[in-house]
């Protein structure tokens, strides 16, 4: 049927609303297939984003929920051994606030029971617990001077992912979806996946605000891929309706909606028709994506033995690569565990077995496909762990380390980050940053920078204020850029 003038006009209008009038660059192409629209959204291109050429097109953030111990994995301080079982010097502790679990209790140095060794050509020192990460040492930049303010899991994770300790702000990926739009037309722009430690050791919950859109329009929120059932909620057709029947229903539905559009002239109806079509495409593309049986054995081997288990960190890493190939912009893996307050000697090695090989495997796989160049990979937790002992120092089965926000480590690879380097230093006890501190907001500014976004200009006005991911802080960490 030939559209009448009103329809034609409103189609134009929709498109104009959609793109804004002024934007140029990646934003336009991306927005042409943005996952959703709403009349109340200022077009992202009004921001003039991207602000400069991007080094990275997408991000894979392997968030290690629970806080891995930098003391035992990345921050080699052999000098701590001779202070083992003695009170941490006051000059180091400086009366800093800790969690109420260890605040005010005695703080005796617990030197790491594991060996460190240099890895790669660069010779970066890392623990024997992470040999696979060691094997990609030349590709990664290990930051040893991260610091944050939060001392409890949920606020600290929320801080990393939304820029605020209190829930309610947009998460990292939704900022990117808002700023850059989508780069594909069959998958969401921002996907999140979760996994938990095999021997579950802690109770941090995966709150959906970790991938929420806060006050940004809700179509910017991350789509959670689930480890069981439908990978995306309500993705499967109901029993008794197959894909073909569904297609005819959707065709007829579109016909009805088109009639209504001609009658009423509301351009929003056209958007709805498009969204139903996209839904239909996702019903095929997502099961395809999550079907890893097509992967050859040597690729599966990269990710380690756990890769075939649905919902495992290893499988999520593999899915992350597949999503990256399809042009998904922000892939957020969250692996919970690491919270070794009282079982560090027994549990940390279990935890690293789960995560070391898959994380390194992902970087290798991306690299061999040429994807690492424009994919920024990040691995790290919400804070570090205390260099002093929590619990019974003399009973290996009953001690560990408490939360520690003042200094910890995190690594990045690809997306214009220099490989084979370390950045920043801690003091002799891994307690405070000693050189080149990197704050959470600095990391956020740096990641945005690699995506071509100026963190001070990526803003959204809400309740009378221009909000940013980095609040009113953040400096790009330039020395780690290639």
């Amino acid at each position: 049927m030939t559209p009448d003038p009103i329809t034609q006009y409103s189609q134009q209008l929709t498109r104009r609303r959609f793109f804004g009038n002024t934007g140029t660059g990646l934003g336009i192409a991306a927005l042409s297939s943005l996952m959703g629209t709403s009349e109340s959204i200022p077009a992202a291109t009004d921001l003039g984003a991207p602000h400069f050429p991007a080094k990275a097109k997408r991000v894979i953030y392997m968030f290690q929920n629970g806080a891995p111990s930098h003391v035992d994995l990345f921050d080699h301080k052999p000098g701590m051994a001779k202070f083992h079982d003695t009170q941490l010097p006051e000059s180091i502790q400086q009366g800093k606030r800790l969690s109420t679990m260890t605040q005010g209790k005695e703080q005796k140095v617990l030197s790491t029971p594991w060996k460190f060794q240099p890895y790669g050509k660069c010779g970066t020192q890392m623990s024997e617990l992470v040999p696979h990460m060691g094997s990609i040492a030349d590709d990664i930049c290990l930051v040893r001077s991260m610091h944050t303010e939060a001392v409890n899991h949920a606020p600290a994770i929320t801080y990393f992912l939304t820029g605020s300790e209190m829930p309610g702000r947009p998460s990292f990926g939704s900022w990117l979806s808002y700023g850059l739009g989508s780069a594909n037309d069959e998958l969401p722009t921002f996907c999140a996946m979760t996994s938990v430690d095999r021997e579950l050791s802690c109770g941090q919950i995966f709150y959906d605000w970790y991938w929420g859109s806060g006050f940004l329009p809700s179509h910017h929120q991350g789509v959670k891929f689930r480890g069981n059932g439908d990978p995306v909620l309500y993705l499967s057709n109901p029993n008794g309706i197959d894909r073909k029947l569904r297609k005819s229903l959707l065709d007829d539905l579109a016909a009805l909606n088109n009639l209504r559009q001609q009658e009423i002239g509301d351009p929003e109806i056209l958007t709805r028709i498009t969204q139903y079509e996209m839904a239909y495409r996702m019903q095929a593309s997502i099961p395809d994506l999550t079907d890893i049986n097509t992967e050859p054995q040597h690729i599966l081997d990269l990710y380690g033995p756990d890769v075939m288990r649905r919902g495992s960190f290893a499988q999520n890493c593999l899915l992350a690569r597949r999503l990256a190939e399809k042009g998904v912009r922000f892939i957020q893996l969250m692996h919970a565990g690491w919270d070794q307050h009282n079982n560090l000697p027994t549990q940390l090695s279990v935890q690293t077995k789960d995560t070391d090989q898959p994380a390194a495997g992902l970087v290798r796989d991306l690299k061999q496909r040429g994807l690492l160049e424009d994919t920024l990979v990040i691995w790290g937790g919400e804070f570090g762990r205390t260099p002093f002992c929590q619990g019974d120092m003399h009973n290996k089965k009953q001690h560990g380390r408490d939360h520690h926000p003042y200094c910890f480590s995190l690594w990045m690879a690809g997306g214009g980050i220099r490989g084979g380097m370390t950045y920043g230093e801690s003091d002799d006890f891994c307690y405070n940053t000693a050189k080149d501190p990197v704050h959470v907001h600095d990391l956020q500014a740096t990641i945005l920078n690699q995506l071509g976004l100026d963190h001070e200009r990526l803003t959204y006005k809400f309740q009378g204020r221009e909000f940013r991911l980095t609040d009113v802080h953040g400096k790009v960490v330039k020395p780690i850029l290639s």
Binding site: P167, T194, G240, L253, T271, Q275, Q463, R465
Partner: protein, 1043 residues
């Protein structure tokens, strides 16, 4: 009563009525040189966005001591002069924004706040036209504007004053209102807008048959009177109040907050005036003798998240809660983003950091710790009965009053009874030379083997209190001389100090052994043999005879199966040989409680003995010695005190008195038991000693800026709290609802406008400050707000005004002209058309299919949800226990809301973490997947199809009915052809694979069998096919949309 609101003093210069500006839809007005510049519309937004950051209200970041947010600042004498009226070229302001010298250029080139040439042009014109200033519009006093006069032609179109404002604006924008909406569309719109549910086909038919103005008004009145109205209005209020059934944060424990929700529904249904609605929620507890409901209402500001995380600092949490209350109150009632001033003076609006903490002080005095310290709730909490409990509770109160009344005989009768009683006793005494019956023992001492506290009262009663062990043995020593004793009586007796009035320490008891021993300091203890025992009541299989064997397996207990344990009981133990205590001998009674039933020990009891040969359960008490000695004398010789003593004793032993007491204790116990089973809900309650409030550096709970103690207070720019007002939340609530507060009424009518028309007159419902959008119809907003106040904040009346207007009744068809001139329909040249909220879409399919269960209020329910969602996010710690039956089909308002993970099929709903007053409305493929595939929607489609098949035999009728019952209009021929095409496709599909039918039809708990009789395979195929069609109709844009 104090006045609460102390208005600001306006200098004459400052006030230029807000009425001077015309429209917020700036695109509608070309700003050429001929246009008059309006400060609020054209200039303030530029200054606010580009200059206030450094030259605004925040004193700390202010540069060059220059302030552009006040008239004084703009007019300040400076060198060179900032602004010279009518001479832009000579004004430093224009020089600074036009220069290319980056050293003096404003805003600084690196600030990302550069001005466009259009903005520079506006500022230039403004100065050229005289640089008029007016205060921010929303803070100006509310004055009811005159209703615009209309030309005859359009005046006919208007139905009420609201239309005058709308059409006047439309005309100035060269637009015309639309034709009226078709009757069916209008009815569907109206019913959805006022109740959140669609009209039934029968209602639609009735209106179509008689679509008159009178009938329409009648329907409006009916809808406003329906209970579904209150439920519908409650939703947005719940969202604003960040209502949730759980606490959020780690653990995300369940709380009981549904009482407050029911309060909100009832308040809307009762059409509680909005000022009262406000006062009760902010400070109901501070009203004079507040009712239970008024206390429940204060739950509004307890709906914030609660952090029960281990390692959390309680005071830090508490301070967060106070911030939340301050900011939520600011957003909901004042439309102000007060949160900005938590860390510094507000950058854009006249609110200082100090004023923020003065507001904060109102909410800083709650009797709370910051811990989750009352089950899943946090104190202060209030015990709340359910509706049934409340009824019974009230009737107990009445019964108690009656029981007390019936305790005494009328004076004459009482005297007569007493005389007869005295005569009988005296005769008995004469005949037997003693009084017959039981003589109560006054024990020498009583001890507990497990360390409970014992005490003996003057009447010989033994009371056990203190430590409550699982098992306990009591030893009672009697040293009164005893002669020829035949039996001993144990009287477990109720006592007000015991839980549920006893007689056991925890109501019931299990006495496993009753032993008697005669002791003498020089002799071996002599156990007494008990021949038999009887009791006036025994719990089945807990016969009193069990106490005679030493076994701990069983004993005597008195639970009656109906929680009526609080009754005085007695057991008689018959001695094998009569007992006489020799000189120096004592009687020791041992009461053992060794059963497996923990804490089933006696709480209060008495012992008595008798020399009567065959005492029974009916045997009376002998008068105690004090009474006995009086009775021994002839009545004529008694003095007044003795007469009264006897009268008192007699009175307390009349049947009426004993029964009344028994009744009273039972009722009181029931009351206590009920109170113990009451639910609780979080409420506001202030501490006695006022908690100190100081300004906190960047909102850090432990970093006060200085030692200065702040008092409660309201921001100066809004008008101060009157000097004689009390310094508490109630005063704040009264200040907020003062008719002189410029914001409350404006903000409130705007929110209701948003509810009816899709977006507010001020689009930024949450922000009426300088960063918010200007109103599209400022005069209309003021008229509505003033009218609302004049009519006692009557919400139903306000909504009725809106839906009775011609503006509301327009068609939603969009003309090309309208789309060009006003693409967002801010001027309402046609009815807004928007997708229904997801919770309403769900309610709608439940209603259309006939599944909806209409039951008002009560606890939340758990309808369908994909498996494993809660378990996934909580590592298996929290599991979703789906309800069944009616609970699956309640309105979405009652769906259990987990704060960390809202109901998955409710998309675009606020997250309930913080206050939210504006609806999100997006359009994504995930929404399509939900309404296409969720069980809720498939089951509703199938049940709908079932209903249609029952109603109509013919295929054609069925097809039509599916369409008409859902969309309430007749299908066109083309539409019918599409439905038929879908029917043919689906029918062929199910014909080919009949096994698919059952797969589809089995979705959902409502069984599909027994629908049609007989029910053959062909019916199954039809049902599956119609289910597909219903599913399709439920997904049409028209069905999902309020048109």
């Amino acid at each position: 009563m104090p006045t609460y609101y102390q208005p600001r003093k306006f200098s004459a210069l400052l006030v230029i009525a807000a009425a001077t500006f015309i429209t917020g839809a700036a695109t509608l007005l070309a700003n050429n040189d001929n246009t008059s510049i309006d400060f609020n519309r054209d200039i303030r937004p530029i200054l606010a966005n580009h200059c206030y950051q450094c030259h605004g209200p925040d004193a700390k970041t202010r540069q060059a001591d220059l302030r552009l947010d006040t008239q004084a600042g703009l007019a300040e004498q400076r060198d060179p002069p900032l602004i010279i009226q009518h001479r832009p070229a000579a004004s430093e302001l224009i020089h600074r924004i036009t220069t290319t010298d980056s050293d003096v250029q404003m805003p600084p080139p690196d600030s990302n706040r550069n001005l466009s040439s259009a903005q520079i042009n506006l500022l230039t014109q403004w100065i050229r036209q005289g640089a008029n200033y007016s205060g921010h519009w929303s803070l100006q006093p509310l004055v009811k504007p005159a209703v615009p006069q209309l030309k005859k032609r359009v005046a006919k179109w208007a139905r009420n004053p609201l239309d005058h404002f709308i059409v006047a604006k439309l005309q100035s924008a060269q637009l015309q209102p639309s034709t009226p909406a078709p009757a069916a569309t209008l009815l569907r719109r109206l019913t959805l807008d006022l109740t959140g549910l669609p009209p039934t086909p029968i209602q639609a038919q009735a209106f179509l048959a008689n679509p008159t103005a009178e009938h329409y008004e009648q329907i409006v009145d009916n809808l406003l009177a329906q209970p579904e109205y209150g439920e519908h209005l409650a939703w947005n209020w719940l969202v604003a109040a960040r209502y949730s059934d759980t606490n959020g944060y780690q653990g995300d424990r369940t709380r009981t907050s549904h009482f407050w929700r029911t309060w909100v529904i009832n308040a809307f249904n009762d059409n509680m005036p909005f000022n009262q609605f406000t006062i009760e929620q902010l400070a109901g507890d501070l009203l004079e003798s507040p009712t239970l409901d008024q206390r429940i209402a204060t739950g509004f500001n307890r709906n914030h998240p609660l952090n029960g995380e281990g390692g959390r600092i309680a005071e830090e949490s508490r301070v967060e809660y106070v911030f939340d209350r301050t900011e939520t109150t600011g957003t909901v009632w004042l439309g102000l983003t007060v949160g900005c001033a938590r860390c510094h003076d507000h950058k854009y609006d006249p609110l200082t950091q100090r004023e923020y903490y003065e507001m904060y002080a109102f909410f800083n005095n709650i009797d709370e710790t910051g811990r989750v310290d009352a089950g899943g709730d946090a104190n202060p909490v209030l015990k709340v009965p359910t509706a049934t409990q409340r009824q019974r509770f009230d009737s107990i109160k009445r019964e108690l009053a009656n029981a007390t009344g019936s305790a005494r005989l009328p004076a004459e009768k009482e005297e007569q009874a007493r005389t007869e009683w005295i005569q009988a006793l005296q005769a008995e005494h004469k005949h037997h030379e003693r009084f017959l019956g039981w003589n109560t023992l006054i024990p020498l001492k009583a001890t507990s083997s497990a360390g409970a506290t014992t005490s003996i009262d003057s009447g010989g009663g033994v009371l056990i209190t203190g430590k409550l062990p699982d098992k306990d043995d009591y030893t009672i020593v009697i040293d009164q001389p005893q002669k020829n004793i035949k039996a001993i009586r144990l009287q477990p007796t109720t006592h007000e100090r015991l839980e549920f009035n006893g007689p056991g320490r925890a109501s019931n008891f299990v006495l496993t052994s009753f032993e008697l021993t005669v002791t003498h300091p020089d002799k071996k203890p002599r156990p007494l043999k008990i021949q038999d025992a009887v009791a006036d009541f025994t719990q089945s299989s807990f016969d009193v005879k069990h106490t005679l064997s030493p076994s701990a397996e069983s004993g005597w207990a008195i639970w009656d199966g109906d929680l009526k344990t609080s009754i005085d009981r007695q057991a008689i133990f018959y001695l094998a040989e009569p007992l006489t205590l020799a000189q120096g001998e004592q009687l020791t009674v041992t009461l053992r409680h060794q059963s497996k039933h923990a804490k089933h020990t006696l709480g209060y009891f008495r012992l008595a003995t008798t020399t009567d040969a065959k005492p029974t359960l009916k045997t009376n008490d002998a008068p105690p010695s004090q009474i006995a000695s009086v009775l021994a004398k002839p009545a004529g010789n008694w003095n007044a005190a003795e007469t009264e003593l006897v009268a008192q004793y007699h009175r307390e032993h009349t049947d009426a008195y004993v029964n009344a007491r028994k009744q009273r204790v039972l009722l009181e116990t029931e009351q206590q038991r009920m109170r113990a089973s009451f639910s609780q809900t979080m409420v506001m309650r202030d501490r006695g000693e006022v908690r100190e409030t100081k300004i906190l550096t960047v909102g850090q709970y432990d970093s006060p800026l200085n030692d200065e103690l702040l008092q409660v207070g309201t921001p100066a720019s809004l008008g101060l709290l009157a000097k004689d007002a009390p310094r508490n939340r109630l005063a704040l609530a009264r200040w907020i609802t003062s008719t002189r507060n410029p914001l409350t009424a404006r903000v409130t009518v705007n929110r209701f406008w948003q509810q009816i028309f899709g977006s507010g007159i001020v689009k930024t419902t949450e922000d009426f400050g300088t960063q918010g959008e200007l109103p599209s119809h400022p005069l209309l907003l003021d008229w509505l707000a003033a009218d609302f106040q004049e009519h006692n904040w009557n919400v139903k009346r306000l909504l009725k005004t809106m839906v009775m207007s011609a503006t509301y009744r327009q068609s939603s068809h969009t003309s090309v002209t309208a789309q060009q001139l006003d693409p967002y329909n801010r001027l309402l040249s046609h009815s807004p058309r928007f997708r229904l909220p997801s919770h309403t879409i769900r309610d709608q399919v439940l209603a259309v299919s006939g599944l909806l269960v209409t039951k008002l209020g009560g606890p939340s329910v758990k309808p369908y949800q994909p498996e494993g969602l809660w378990a996934d996010f909580s590592f298996g710690k929290i599991k979703y226990q789906q309800d069944s039956g009616d609970a699956l089909y309640r309105r979405s308002l009652y769906t259990f809301w987990r704060r960390s993970l809202g109901p998955p099929n409710m998309f675009d709903e606020a997250n309930r973490q913080t206050c939210n007053v504006r609806t999100a409305r997006t359009n994504t493929p995930l929404h399509a997947l939900t309404t296409l595939n969720d069980i809720t929607y498939i089951e509703a489609a199938r049940v709908f199809a079932q209903r249609v098949m029952q109603l109509h035999d013919q295929h054609e009728r069925r097809l039509e009915y599916l369409f008409r019952a859902a969309l309430l209009r007749e299908e066109t021929a083309t539409e019918k052809a599409i439905l038929q095409r879908m029917f043919t496709t689906a029918h062929a599909y199910y014909q080919d694979s009949p096994e698919k039918c059952k797969e589809l039809l089995q979705i959902g708990d409502k069984p599909y069998e027994q629908t049609l009789d007989p029910f053959d395979n062909q019916d199954l195929i039809d049902l599956a096919t119609y289910t597909n069609i219903a599913n399709m109709i439920f997904n049409t844009d028209e069905f999902l949309t309020r048109e």
